[in-house]
């Protein structure tokens, strides 16, 4: 509100300055203060001689052949780090520190490198490795049950695509076949089914959320893994919500089809993370995805089908193309996740994808809640039981999939 200041209008000309100057002034002053801080170093007296501690993470390892182990290393700290020696099984071992094809000893701040160790490992026998820095700091990394990494090949891509198809696309499509049956249901029963799918989604959110925080612990310190997960969850939630609001600004409420797409997207993001898990397990040589595991994933994911189509069971039936699109949106990301996971896995990426999935799912939960309460009573006993049933079914099928 404009206030009079002895006849001068202070809104358009604060202190008599043009608006843009007033906007920039604080920033310019801040720059001055920061520059002054660097020049004057007012806290120099408080600083001891203690240099920052080296902060190095072994993000993961790959085992390209019988005689080589590669440790992937990130220097999180603000200072250079020198890897002076490497221990394998408590013995000094020869090695090379490679960065961009060149042999180095020192890794710059925030840079990554590979430590290539010629070592004839035994399949399944754990390996204790340690980097010894120039000041004697040791960075330990245990390779549990080493297996050769498959590397990049057409075979691997094809295998992962097949696995993705069976784990993601087929179960979701099968689940969507409940659509005609769901159309014939009463409102009460359908709401219970919707509540059931909310249960499934809430459970997935917890599942993926815990997983994200777990992976975040392996994220190199500089990237603040835990906060990255928080940002991913809230960011995805807010963006999907903003897009939904913008899309439905005409009618006020989002259409059923829109919600169904959102559900498919949320589930798809979750499945992308699922694919990442499969792919990265592949990448580090943990290729134990037997038939049983695939069956487990199928059962688990088949419940995601009805969750996708439940919002469109009233009103006119969407065209078959929509169904296929929604199925693809929910299922195909498993394949992409598998590829990304096997060739470009990093804990940072893994945690972020999982977090985005959680955010998207939470937004969808909110929408379905709104859908039910517009047409009926959200908190009816049947709905609550349906919700609980969703949680229980997910828990039960999750038992089959312990990766």
């Amino acid at each position: 509100m404009a206030r009079s200041d002895g006849g001068t209008n202070t809104v358009n000309k604060p202190f008599g300055l043009p608006r843009w100057v007033a906007a920039i002034l604080p920033i310019a002053l801040l720059a001055l203060v920061i520059a002054g801080f660097f020049v004057a170093t007012p806290f120099a007296g408080l600083q001891g001689s203690g240099a920052p501690l080296p902060d190095v993470t072994v993000t993961h390892h790959t085992i390209p052949n019988d005689d080589t182990i590669v440790l992937h290393v990130v220097n999180n700290g603000p200072e250079d780090v020198t890897i002076s020696q490497v221990l394998v099984g408590d013995a000094y071992w020869n090695h090379q520190v490679m960065q961009g094809g060149e042999e180095v000893r020192t890794i710059g701040a925030r840079e990554s490198a590979q430590v290539v160790i010629p070592y004839h490992w035994n399949p399944g026998w754990d390996l204790e490795t340690a980097l010894v820095l120039n000041d004697g700091t040791t960075i330990h990394h245990t390779i549990v049950a080493p297996e050769q990494s498959p590397g990049v090949s057409g075979d691997v891509l094809w295998t992962l695509a097949i696995i993705g198809l069976f784990v993601g696309v087929i179960p979701v499509a099968l689940g969507m076949l409940w659509f005609p049956f769901m159309q014939s249901m009463s409102d009460r029963a359908l709401h219970a089914i919707l509540a059931f799918s909310v249960g499934i989604l809430v459970f997935l959110a917890f599942d993926a959320g815990f997983e994200a925080f777990e992976i975040a612990e392996q994220v190199p310190g500089a990237f603040e893994g835990q906060l990255l997960v928080v940002l991913g969850i809230l960011g995805a939630l807010l963006i999907v919500q903003a897009v939904t609001k913008w899309k439905s600004s005409g009618t006020g409420t989002p259409s059923g089809l829109w919600i169904a797409y959102m559900v498919a997207l949320g589930i798809g993001l979750h499945n992308l993370a699922e694919g990442l898990a499969i792919g990265s397990a592949f990448a580090i040589g943990r290729v134990s995805l037997g038939a049983f595991l695939v069956v487990g994933f199928m059962l688990h994911n088949v419940t995601e089908g009805p969750a996708v189509v439940a919002p469109v069971t009233r009103g006119s039936r969407p065209s078959l193309g929509h169904f296929m699109a929604m199925g693809a949106l929910a299922g195909i990301p498993v394949i992409f996740g598998g590829w990304i996971g096997s060739f470009a896995f990093s804990p940072t990426l893994g945690a972020l994808f999982l977090a985005i999935g959680v955010g998207a799912i939470l937004q969808v939960v909110w929408e379905i809640g709104g859908l039910i309460s517009r047409n009926g009573q959200l908190g009816s006993s049947l709905n609550l039981l349906g919700f609980l049933a969703g949680l229980v079914v997910m828990y039960a099928t999750d038992l089959l999939v312990v990766l």
């Binding site: 002076s84 408590d90 004839h120 700091t137």
Partner: protein
């Protein structure tokens, strides 16, 4: 250490390399046989340690890249040379430049006077790995003091370090004030303080000195220790032979003369000692990450310091500039004054390949405690004298190391090169 001249070391390495190449020319089969017999820890042990980065691991007929154990690279710091340390004895008459020393008489009592300072330094314990050490006179282990039985060892100790330190001697000491512990005599010496310890050099043998400030583990493990060698006095041996032999039978003239000869051979003031190559080895270790477990093990501080510089694991090897075998004359008796200064591990050991030796526990007797053994065990502060004879061995590399294979692979692993 001022006495370290890297030019000398470099020249020595070069000479060594040339002589070695000369010695080994046309004898590649023998060489391989020798190395092949060294097998510690299976194939990896045979491979020996190597310069790592330069070892491409292409061995075994090119069918595999198994890699070699051993520290990668060479030492860069020139503060300390473990090869020089082997032969540095400070007698008061003669010794290192960084140890102020003299010999003087008080009546008919001979005093050997040394000045030791505690200083904090950075030392290189494996190629590229430094350790913040507390040291006597800027080296770990501290200077070796060598005296004759019956002398007074006078040590003027000045603490220039950041923490309070002492010197506690492992000699028979009748004055509690000279024991170098916090509760007796001057107690611990704070930064800037000095005190002059006086210890009678008795009994003969290889003795030990170290800081006894608390926390004890840390003050020792950080590097405040060294060796005192008390040479037997042949005259005293002649008069009191029973003090030098663990034996109750008749003391014949023959036996006495044997003991006197042995005493002369161990006394630096007699010419008889010149037939013997005498070396000091202190087994030590360093906990670089403060987890109560050593990351580096060594004899004389530097991991793999007496190893070969580079090897392909097939008997083809080169000495490094800073990692090279101890070259010895096969016709000389090898005498090792061995002290275990390890911390955090209950025991340490010394094992020779392809040879057996006589062992004198603490060196206080002139007859062996153990005859003809190839491995001895020492607990912390235990020490002894080893006499090793390579006179009937072919020239070449003979490994020696701690026979705790973990210690060996973490640095306490070395070679004699018999020429």
């Amino acid at each position: 250490m001022p006495s370290h001249d890297y030019k000398t070391a470099g020249a020595m390495t070069k000479t060594l390399e040339e002589r070695l190449v000369g010695a080994l020319k046309g004898e590649s089969i023998d060489r391989r046989t020798v190395l092949g017999g060294l097998g510690l820890a299976g194939a990896a042990g045979i491979a020996g340690f190597s310069g790592g980065a330069s070892a491409d691991g292409d061995h075994g007929g090119g069918d595999s890249h198994h890699g070699n154990f051993g520290a990668v690279g060479e030492y860069s710091g020139n503060q300390f040379d473990p090869h020089e340390y082997l032969y540095q004895f400070n007698t008061g008459y003669d010794g290192q430049e960084n140890v102020t020393q003299e010999v003087y008489m008080e009546g008919d009592q001979r005093i050997r006077r040394f000045e030791l300072n505690a200083v904090d330094i950075e030392i290189e314990i494996a190629p590229g790995i430094t350790f913040s050490a507390w040291s006597y006179n800027g080296q770990v282990p501290g200077p070796t003091l060598r005296v004759t039985e019956g002398d007074i060892i006078e040590v003027e100790f000045t603490n220039l370090g950041r923490h309070a330190h002492t010197i506690h001697p492992h000699v028979k000491n009748i004055n509690p004030a000279m024991d170098g512990i916090p509760t007796n005599g001057p107690g611990v010496l704070d930064t800037g303080e000095s005190y002059t310890y006086r210890w009678k050099a008795q009994p003969c043998g290889v003795q030990f000195y170290h800081c006894h400030s608390l926390p004890l583990k840390e003050h020792i493990h950080r590097g405040l220790y060294g060796v005192i060698i008390v040479d037997p006095d042949p005259e005293r041996v002649r008069e009191n032979p029973r003090d030098y032999i663990n034996y109750d039978g008749p003391m014949t003239d023959d036996l006495v003369s044997q003991l006197v000869t042995k005493a002369e051979s161990r006394n630096h003031e007699y010419d008889e000692g010149e037939d013997v190559n005498e070396m000091v080895m202190v087994m030590n270790g360093f906990d670089t990450n403060f987890d109560g477990d050593n990351e580096v093990y060594a004899a004389n501080t530097r991991a793999f310091a007496y190893g070969v510089g580079d090897t392909d694991g097939k008997g083809n090897w080169e000495p490094g500039e800073t990692k090279r075998p101890i070259q010895v004359d096969g016709q000389q008796l090898q005498r090792v004054y061995l002290v275990n200064a390890i911390e955090f591990d209950a025991i340490n050991s010394f094992h020779t390949h392809s040879n057996f030796f006589d062992y004198y526990d603490h060196g206080t007797m002139l007859t062996p405690t153990l005859k003809t053994v190839d491995t001895v065990m020492q607990c912390q502060a235990q020490r002894g004298i080893l006499e090793i004879d390579y006179s009937d061995h072919e020239p070449g590399l003979y490994m020696f190391h701690a026979h705790q294979s973990e210690f060996a692979e973490l640095g306490w692993m070395s070679f004699f090169e018999v020429v």
